[in-house]
Symmetry: C2
Subunit: 404 residues, 2 copies
């Protein structure tokens, strides 16, 4: 192919040219953003994968894959894990992937992270259910759900986040291309966010319904308490976490018919500052006991009254993105929230909150969950390891009768 | 609807709340980007619309509309123009649109521009062909074209550009919603770009094939010479320009099979720096006469040899964006270039170049034009005017027999 093309290109002539390796011609690696001076590289190696506790980047693409039937084996999965680990270790650091065909697209990673997870169906397909974390389950059905199969499930997920869409596009291409003979893309979801306060990139964002989103979130030692698995159920999973993906469509046409006051009562916060209706600043604690004339100031069926943790154990990490896709014919918007929640155990953390929301949230009339998926986000790796290695090595030992 | 919802929300209770106007609660307008100190607002009023000579923003969405049959009248078009002018005049300046239902999404415009144009079919549909600029024509068919109707045509176009996707999403929603009873969305195309050198945002970008793109471009007085209409054919069009939209799919799977040297011979530039094969820096003039061993260093059928202007008159403004959309089932990429060219007269400027490319560009094997459209970008407006007013007032005068 290349030779044919070259001949076609040269027409009557012929040309001798050196064959410099791709890596040799790549320019200097950009390790900091000249505009802000901030480091533009996130670490790859460590006890946890990036893209969870990482300060949220502005762009996210989630890719779900299914293994092709002939590759639904431990060997097939290991091949993919080795490829993705090698790709992610380089691309996140601003280095081209091995045999990268567009190496220049790798040089400005803009805090790229690559986060790999396994769906419950993967453990079934590979007959590894004994190694499946007990916390990795499909979510129960909620009465508000209108789930479309095209936005759910998947053997594998890769979450790619960066502060620019270019490195995300490049990484999507590299990771997909390198495993295309072994896996097919099941779905792709893309989102964007910008922090409300530029100086607080980890703070809340504004969703496309106009609400301040992500005010209540985890920090510091709460990650160990609420996010990272401790390996109590499955040794290999220590340092991992469970990702819940919910695609929540905003019913913008009816939402926009509401008056501003009504919207604020539905949410329980003001639209301007995001302050609870009982407060003045976004960070003010809502006072659910406040009444005026015998009527609660924050309606008990408002979104914050129900979405907030009622028990300490119901806390989890929210890392949402907006989505805004081309609408179907005859409609003018297809937008909403790509709600990404990370926690040790969704059954104890996410599900009770979602059940409360499903049962009574005033906001339900204007939002519709259309996609849902759960994944076990793998623990991080040390240099020389590959993602999932602890699991796959354990499987090998078990298969060989060497359980010690 | 609002009352029903409010009652539902409050359940047994009732609540009295003030009805503050939406605009009153919006926070301070952000007029500069805190990260860079650069102004984040582009002017709206002036002899030309923004989004043409404007330093290219990072995100673009192009929306094509068709007037609904019952609104294919001068009065229908005037209504839309008045609405869009009012919306654009506010949104570009960081102010919510009138009756904006998500006013907070308007406060960080990130250099938002709104650029409105008319397609040839609009002049037909409204029987205004006598007022149609002679330079506004459908492009001739090129042998390389594989045009899909879903990416072509349109009575009206709106190009929305900003340095963040959030204000673009909001503006798309506002402009579409406000005219939905009069016009339907025909197509939506979205793109992104980032400058190769952060310190030179008007400079070239890198496309998803890995090439440096946009090296040769116009500046300064060349805009008057090559871009802005002078009203010689149609008085009302002075200050406007013609936009050519070409959706050019990259055939990434076969492109990636080429060796790096072959790719560089196809393009005529190095992939690393974008320098011509006869030079060292991107800005070096290519030397098409240079030979080594009797063979031209830059192949005569390379992309730069053909895409470059051969006559002075063939120059035009390139303002391209990358696109990267979810691929069809079974494929792994649907990416390419949203090629946007602005010029006074495509027949004299763009078409000869495109004809040369179509006839012999080595790159044709790896790129496929799948969409094509032409629009007359309206002249800019002064405060108090609306977009298209000079045309529509002239039509009124002609209809009333007052041609003076």
């Amino acid at each position: 192919m290349a030779e044919l093309s070259r001949r076609r290109l040269l027409g009557a002539g012929a040309l001798v040219a050196g064959t410099a390796g791709a890596a040799a011609v790549v320019g200097p690696r950009l390790v900091s953003d000249p505009a802000t001076g901030e480091a533009a590289v996130e670490p790859f190696y460590g006890p946890h994968q990036g893209g969870v506790a990482t300060v949220p980047q502005r762009y996210a693409t989630l890719l779900a894959f299914d293994l092709r039937p002939e590759h639904r084996t431990v060997a097939g999965l290991r091949s993919i894990m080795k490829l993705w680990t090698a790709d992610a270790a380089r691309l996140t650091q601003g280095l081209p992937a091995l045999a990268d065909t567009e190496p220049e697209l790798a040089t400005s990673p803009a805090r790229l992270t690559v986060t790999v997870g396994y769906g419950p169906t993967l453990f079934d397909a590979l007959r590894l259910t004994r190694a499946q974390p007990a916390t990795l389950r499909e979510l129960p059905a909620f009465s508000v759900d209108r789930l479309e199969p095209r936005w759910g499930g998947g053997h594998l997920v890769v979450q790619l986040c960066a502060d620019s869409p270019l490195p995300v596009s490049h990484a999507v291409r590299v990771l997909t291309k390198n495993v295309r003979s072994m896996a097919t893309v099941r779905w792709i979801q893309r989102g964007f966010r910008e922090p409300i306060r530029t100086e607080d990139p980890a703070g809340s964002m504004r969703n496309l319904m106009g609400q301040v989103d992500g005010t209540v979130n985890l920090a510091g030692s709460q990650f160990d308490q609420f996010v990272w698995d401790h390996g109590e159920d499955q040794d290999w999973f220590a340092g991992g976490t469970i990702l819940i993906v919910r695609r929540i469509r905003a019913e913008m046409d009816t939402w926009d018919q509401l008056g501003r006051d009504t919207k604020e009562l539905v949410v329980g916060r003001t639209l301007g500052s995001g302050a609870p209706l009982t407060g003045h600043q976004e960070s003010d604690e809502p006072d659910f006991d406040a009444h005026v004339g015998g009527i609660p100031v924050i309606p008990p069926n408002s979104h914050i009254a129900l979405a907030r943790h009622h028990k300490d154990s119901e806390q989890f990490l929210r890392r949402p993105y907006n989505y805004d896709d081309p609408p179907p014919a005859g409609q003018i918007s297809d937008s909403g929230l790509l709600f990404l929640a990370f926690q040790r155990d969704p059954a104890a953390q996410f599900v009770p909150v979602q059940q409360r929301i499903s049962d009574g949230d005033a906001l339900n009339e204007w939002v519709t969950p259309v996609g849902s998926a759960s994944f076990a986000v793998l623990p991080g790796v040390r240099e020389g390891e590959y993602l999932g290695q602890r699991l796959l090595d354990a499987v090998d030992r078990a298969t060989n009768g060497d359980n010690g």
